[in-house]
């Protein structure tokens, strides 16, 4: 219960095409994350799945049933919004129970399911309060609770953590991961934050300008990016891109090396360069260099290192850490 098939979904607002043919299969119980820069169409895609937007063409199937003409409430979905979207005049309990009540469920059943969801999210002390009397984190938990109560085939999350502060974001992220394990439900989650994507997803869908760039598990995307866009988008700090010609590689237009796949030494190495800036993060040290052969490089070293600006250092790429891309940005042989 809870698979989703998208077939060549297109969506245009006037002459502006936002989604340019999306094909995707989501299996039952998967946690799928749509990630991409703002304006790439990820939210529009989610809203199309929810039925809040109609696709210009293409088909959406939930559990093998075409839902193109089915109202949002009848699709068996629940959605959590970035702005929480709680009903301001209803109590937490009524907020969570409204969907079931509208569907005509008996009162006892509504009570029972609300109590169960409130238990899962430790919301029991707040059931009688209104949203205005809750903190941001509690409001988002109520919004998640409202989704759980509906026992949907598909959970849809639209950037649910963007309005929370950093500490709360980590907690709520863990909570969502825990919910996914205990509910074993299919979840589709939209974010622009690649950390959320890498930590939560079974499967990441990288979107750019209305197209899917690559679909894969977090480690597949990290180790074997299919193109320049994915290589640059996944991983932080961003992958270094070096002109292939500078390295004497005629076949590759661009060569990518992740900052963590470069070693530094004061004495000897492949590329000589001058340190421009160093960021000490405790667990990591990020060194920015300007090298003579290949231009600017970012290097991520684990642990603490005593480099300072204007030091002369030598950088050496780790064997097998290079990604080679052709003139169209597609990968040639990845991670060889």
């Amino acid at each position: 219960m809870g698979s989703l098939q998208l077939k060549s979904i297109r969506k245009a607002f006037g002459a502006h095409e936002v989604l340019k043919g999306i094909d995707l299969d989501v299996n039952d119980g998967e946690f799928v994350i749509f990630v991409g820069p703002s304006g790439c169409g990820k939210s529009t895609l989610l809203r199309t799945i929810a039925g809040l937007e109609d696709a210009t063409s293409g088909s959406v199937q939930i559990d093998g049933v075409e839902v193109g003409h089915v109202a949002p409430a009848k699709r068996g979905i629940a959605m959590v919004f970035q702005s929480y979207a709680l009903y301001p005049h209803l109590t937490v309990k009524d907020n969570m129970g409204l969907g079931l009540k509208q569907a005509g469920a008996p009162k006892v059943e509504v009570e029972e399911k609300v109590a169960k969801a409130a238990g899962m999210l430790s919301l029991e002390p707040y059931l009688a309060r209104r949203p205005a009397e809750l903190s941001g984190g509690q409001r988002q938990r109520v919004a998640i609770g409202r989704a759980i109560v509906r026992e949907p085939k598909l959970f849809l999350f639209d950037e649910p953590l963007s309005n929370l502060d950093a500490a709360l974001r980590v907690n709520t992220r863990l909570e969502i991961a825990r919910l996914h394990r205990s509910l074993k439900a299919t979840m589709i989650y939209v974010t622009h934050d690649q950390v959320e994507a890498m930590t939560l997803a079974d499967k990441i869908v990288v979107l750019n300008a209305g197209r899917i760039e690559q679909v894969g598990s977090p480690m597949e995307l990290y180790n074997r990016p299919a193109n320049l866009f994915v290589a640059g988008f996944i991983g932080s700090p961003q992958m270094n891109f070096i002109d292939g010609a500078k390295l004497g590689d005629g076949a590759a237009k661009t060569i990518g090396i992740r900052p963590e796949h470069i070693g530094l030494s004061r004495d000897s190495g492949q590329w000589r360069g001058k340190v421009i800036h160093v960021e000490h993060l405790g667990a990591d040290t990020i060194v920015y260099l300007e090298s003579d052969e290949v231009g600017p490089l970012t290097v991520r070293l684990f642990g603490e290192h005593r480099y300072a600006a204007d030091d002369i250092v030598h950088a050496t790429p780790v064997i097998g850490g290079m990604h080679r891309f052709d003139a169209d940005g597609r990968v040639i042989i990845s991670g060889q």
């Binding site: 949002p72 409430a73 959605m79 929480y84 409202r146």
Partner: protein, 279 residues
């Protein structure tokens, strides 16, 4: 307000301006009420004086209550005003919701068309309205007045409310759709409570011209049974002799219902502002 941002001089200046405005605004009301309790001679001799035991008189109120069916006039005014406000708010809010929520061809043009009435006074169409009412057999009914006032109030209501409805969060409406609320339920149960301050504003702006109007009652419903208070008071104003006691008493009485309605709406206004944010 924090202490750092207040200075005695600025607070004083602000209060002086507000008090001056209050005095200017209240002076006519004060004059009307004070003089309505005085004898005819006292009104003319010393119009600004407060009634003393010698000049105090209830003759004006006695005349008003004896002459004609004044209670009936009041009832007519209240019915016309309340029903018109209700219709203006209902239809205005519905039109505003459609204009702000749905994308359809001609949306902007329709909005402009509905707002056109703000710029064109409805009285320009009096002759046509009268002909229409005669044809529809509605002359000398309160229905005629209610229809005209509803039409008169709608443009401003649509204009103000559609601006406010654009500010209601889309996510909230979409959450309602996913929870299975119909578009009507979304309108009545989610959107209307959130635009209540705007509704109160529209109600106040709509109410006062309707209550005070003399033109349409005189033309469309001058019969004894359908007279409004404003029209009813006119019997005391003659071409040569005006019964000032009665006129002032009638006006004083006419202030109160509108004051009560205003207090109700302005409380809504304040409550709406302080009710707190959506998020």
């Amino acid at each position: 307000m924090s202490k750092a941002r207040t200075s005695l001089f600025r607070t004083g200046a602000v209060h002086a301006a507000l008090i001056a405005y209050t005095l200017v605004a209240l002076f006519p009301v004060f004059l009307t009420i004070v003089n309505s309790f005085k004898s005819r001679n006292a009104i003319f001799r010393e119009p600004l004086a407060i009634p003393t035991p010698e000049t105090f008189s209830l003759i004006g109120y006695e005349t008003v209550l004896k002459q004609g069916d004044f209670l009936g006039y009041f009832q007519n005014s209240v019915i016309v005003t309340v029903v018109s406000i209700a219709l203006v708010l209902l239809f205005g809010a519905m039109a505003a919701f459609a204009l702000s929520e749905y994308r359809f061809r001609g949306n902007a043009l329709m909005g402009l068309y509905l707002a056109l009435g703000i710029m064109i006074p409805i009285r320009l169409g009096t002759v046509a309205i009268l002909q229409g009412m005669v044809a529809a057999n509605l002359v000398n009914t309160l229905t005629a007045l209610i229809l005209v006032y509803t039409a008169q109030g709608l443009p401003l209501a649509v204009f103000i409310l559609s601006e406010f409805m654009r500010t209601v969060s889309d996510d909230l409406k979409n959450a309602g759709r996913i929870d299975g609320l119909s578009e009507y339920a979304i309108f009545f149960r989610l959107v209307l409570p959130l635009v209540r301050p705007a509704m109160a504003t529209v109600a106040v702006f709509t109410m006062i011209p309707i209550w005070n109007d003399l033109w349409f009652p005189l033309i469309l419903a001058p019969a004894e049974t359908t007279k409004t208070v404003t029209l009813g008071s006119q019997i005391f104003i003659g071409q040569f002799v005006t019964n000032w006691n009665a006129v002032l008493s009638a006006l004083s009485l006419a202030i109160f219902p509108v004051l009560v309605l205003y207090v109700i709406f302005s409380r809504q206004l304040i409550r709406g502002i302080t009710a707190g944010a959506v998020k």
